[in-house]
Symmetry: D2
């Protein structure tokens, strides 16, 4: 059976656009996909950048208007990599037009928008049109293997979670203003940008959801230089988010998201302690998973540093021999594989927009808790 | 000038007694102390254990009543290593009798008791009698060096703290009842036993104090077998304590104390992020300190793993050549050195009972916050 | 100036073919190359595999005969990824036909062949035709940065080298026979396959060459099952190669190549000790470089773990933000960039065939030394 | 039964004297020994240092002549911590006088001397007088546990050894002359001082002995300043020793001893690869052992970092709770325990002088190999 093509239009051409492009380009070279993605159309608002971006990344055509992409009959998939404030409008229109949608995280800047998106996705699902939100750190061999170990009972009854996403790109108080520091565009700061990943990953690995949270946000540097100007712009989002959360089972977790964690470039960490074992992951070491097996002979217990690069491990067999590591961008190829397979199989791809909405509600609850003296706030 | 002797009586003969004995025994063999400690008297309540303990550890005499030790004229120092519920009575009596007092942490089981002890110590100080509380993790080369680096400005303005003390000796739900799980004896659980260390160490390294906290306590296993009985006893203390704290400068810190952190045997971690650097410590690796120097040439920045075993490092010159590591017990020798030197110099040894009271108030505030839905509670 | 195309034919479609294909495909998407590679022709001997491989990897056409590729006028570059016994014939013919040649390492199975290839490359160079050998581990940000630090004098006068390439894919004595275990096809075993990388990388980082060596080879498992047969085939190459080498300056280095290093999946390690510092690299951790700066303040000295993922680091700016790691295959994109840039600039790309010949001579000298009781053998 | 005393005289009061003193002092405080060591007599040649050393370390009396110690009836044990050139004379005389002897490693500066010592020990053994050589790194929980794992078959058939002892105290070319750099006193340099440890430990863990070796020695800095003089003294020993060795089974090992390994303070490393597992040890991390268990489920295999601080582990139960680490000096307490227990049990303590002689022969063979162009030299 010949593979049918799946024509993709990507909306947005920033940093995430490069990563998604690499996913669309590379996935079919390593995986046998049931449909072949075609990089048909790149949409950007800036005519001086969208053309060069399309040429560089290999998109066949360009447009300055996302509505055009949605209006075209020869586009099957809309991939949204714009800032969060435009996600809802684009995604809802795309789904209404019968396009499958892959939307970068966070799903939206507010739960209200995210709710509309989830509703639209639910309606589209009935029509065989699928939507997925892009939490790519669920697509790493180590994190999927961690989830599998937990689900298999390898660490017993879950007891505690510690999750953090630590970056340091804002440590310098003269690092310039960018859209990610403007609440009207970004929704929130460290919380929504990277805390969302910590939340999603902790929930993904444990198979449990946060039911309530208590936390606090802080902005450490309140204004920053505006590039090409002598003025300083106001930072309207958090630099640091700290919270505790209670999962379905009553289990507590501690969470931190910081862009001020000096020396930590990109350290997304999740550790889950169970009654008979533990798993520990750090994205700075993303090709390894630490696993403590409490069933090993007493004297030999300890954290085992597993090189998650073997054929036994999720996603790996398509790539290289053991010990030949994967990089940041491989998650995007894995995401394309999973998304395409779900579409062709007419199954809901995960994480769904409903999953994205749930993360958004956790983010909202953390903000509400921070505004209310760290009172515990339910996430639904 | 010949060294004068300093005759010591130690009250208590459990695990901490072995550690303190090693400190008294070994310190004068490596440091030139201005007074020579004599291990004069060991006091224990159990006649069948105190004699063998004294012989094994090298105490000259034994007693079954701490009041006897305090009544003797030939005792200069009372070293208290009993459970926390008896600290106040013994220490206050000892100070009143003109004995210098070294008291294990936590200072007391309640702030009320700790306040009385601090008052007694303040009064004794006026009479040239000194009291110190035993936070020995302040006495490690790595932690003192971390404090020194921070104080020197090597990491710039302090921005964030993450502190945790993770152990796993209660993971097995059939680990037996011990006095540390009984609130009436131990005061609190993970919070007071190991969280107190995380608090003290974070405050020591940053030179700042926690002004308010928001947190939650949890007991994961509520009853445990009683040794020699078919019944199970009730666990009345926390297994896990999670909280955030606000320091003097407004800086936030995240804290965790857990005896359920599967695979983490004894991991006391403190990381401090500053505007131009960071330090990171883990007691499972206690001979190393991680230091991020933001002033290094851009391409070469990263955490430097310093083997804190060189003559430049605190306490080290008296011991071994570089790379020959120290162990857990060396903190007790360092504590003896510092305590003896302060006594002879007629200076207040640190941490004082007032410092111990302050930690106790933080512990109380965490308990109060937990009881009040994680509301922020001032520590004084 | 529009970029001119550079039409590539790749000879060989095994594991290395996938890696090279990824390099040709991806490099122009991240780097602004002065000529655009076109994946024109894939050559393989097996008609049942070459077609699917070409479709999967994105080569426009296929052929069963490498001579056809060389005969075509519309091919500019021949990329050789066959086993070592065919390198010489193909490369020499390609160069004679005016094709630029990229040849996988080791350059050849014998120095005699490698000499002919180097001669052919030297002659081609005079005609503006370029040849390069594919030691891709020279193309990692960490290894180039290590070379740069050494060259800048950051570790002072070089004193010692320790290099090893440890793998474990042959630990199981029932792992099946493959061509890499047959001396007639592979030339040598661990020595030539992975020891060659250790030699090249040590020479690259130090900027010095091995002048003589003393070593020993060993085969630990002498026969292995033949897939689809009940017989066992004879292993005619080494499993383990151990040797010492003397560099230009008289400096000694210790080398190990093993496919029997249980638990070490793909650990290529090079450490260079200098009079004022050191660098240490391990490919299992390839996004980090350890750097010991002896000029740092005494108390703060130690190995700094540099995340070599910042814009300051070689090759990195084209990829992702700091802390977003690169994988095994990125070396192949870097190789394409360097090769294309050299061709367009009419400069000799490195490592040249002469460089590859020199590595081959070191390999030969190790074999000769092993055969002669570990006597020191000059490499030229 | 009351414990009988064991009166000890220690000959030598340098750095190793402090370590041995700590062993004699502390061992009986943690272990229930069948005889109680008494620190009776310290012998040193320098009247200005021996008295203060005795007072500091707690020896009851002092002497300037080791012969006096041997002549005394009330001395049971002679502990020799002098430089290697005096070991033979003292040990042989002590054994002749019926004293048990503990002699620091290396046993002697030459095999001839070591042979005489081993002969004397064998003769003494017949008279119930025991001799042991002090390779204390055999006395660490991690190394004994490694030996036990290997002996139990946990890593299968042994395949390869990599051992190194890396220090950096001579990196600075102006580090001053000391006796360890003078061949007439020290016998050899890095080879005998630290290479001897690597040899002993590799043999201890594998249970095999080196039958032949091929190696090379190098002196990188040939003269060094003499303290208190404007002249430089000649370094007559090696700074670096590199060799391969063949064990009983035919297994090869690679060895390095260096005092020029910049940044490596005290890194004694031994890794043993077996057919079903591996163990890896590094003394800079001496409370941990890395164990690769090839029998674990495929996806979970990796090196497990075992905190060798649990009651299951050798020597540990007498000390602290899990995760409370031991230091350098604990090996000396363990040595005292093992030596005293063997004496009282009338069993040969290990390593015997014959074992020390065997190590000496390996050292001699390495020197001979280095002098003979790295030819393979048998060790007996």
């Amino acid at each position: 059976m010949p593979e049918s093509p799946l024509r993709v239009a990507m909306i947005g051409n920033g940093f995430m656009g490069a990563a998604h492009s690499q996913g669309w380009r590379v996935a079919p070279r390593f995986y046998d996909l049931p449909a072949t993605p075609e990089m048909a159309l790149l949409v950007g608002r800036n005519p001086s950048t969208v053309g060069p971006a399309a040429r560089k990344w290999g998109w066949a055509e360009t447009s300055l208007d996302w509505r055009e992409a949605i209006a075209r009959d020869d586009i099957d998939v809309i991939d949204i990599v714009t800032p969060g404030d435009s996600h809802a409008e684009i995604a809802i229109a795309a789904l209404a037009a019968g396009k499958h949608v892959l939307c970068e995280k966070p799903l939206a800047n507010t739960s209200a928008e995210a709710q509309e998106m989830a509703d639209a996705a639910a309606a589209a699902f009935e029509r065989g049109v699928f939507a997925m939100v892009g939490f790519t750190f669920r697509r790493l061999p180590a994190t999927v293997y961690a989830r599998d170990l937990v689900a298999s009972g390898a660490i017993g009854e879950l007891r505690q979670v510690r999750a953090a996403y630590l970056q340091d790109w804002l440590v310098d108080e003269n690092a310039p203003m960018v859209w990610r520091l403007d609440k009207s565009l970004a929704g929130s700061g460290a919380l929504g940008d990277i805390g969302a990943h910590a939340i999603d990953l902790a929930q993904f690995i444990t198979g449990q959801r946060l039911q309530s949270v208590s936390g606090i946000l802080q902005t450490l540097v309140n204004d920053r230089p505006i590039a090409g100007s002598s003025e300083r712009g106001r930072v309207t989002v958090d630099d640091v988010a700290l919270f505790q959360g209670r999962f379905d089972s009553g289990m507590l977790g501690t969470f931190e998201a910081s862009r001020m964690a000096t020396g930590r470039r990109n350290s997304l960490r999740v550790e889950v302690s169970g009654s008979t074992g533990a798993i520990s992951f750090d994205m700075e070491d993303q090709n390894f998973l630490e696993f403590y097996d409490g069933s090993a002979e007493a004297g030999t217990r300890g954290f085992t540093r597993i090189s998650v690069t073997q054929p036994e491990h999720p996603y790996v067999a398509a790539w290289w021999p053991p010990g030949h590591i994967l990089g940041y961008e491989h998650g995007f190829s894995h995401q394309v594989r999973d998304f395409v397979e779900a579409i062709v199989a007419h199954e809901q791809p995960t994480p769904s927009f409903a999953d994205g909405l749930q993360v958004q509600r956790v983010l909202d609850a953390v903000e509400a808790s921070s505004a209310d003296g760290s009172a515990w706030i339910a996430t639904n």
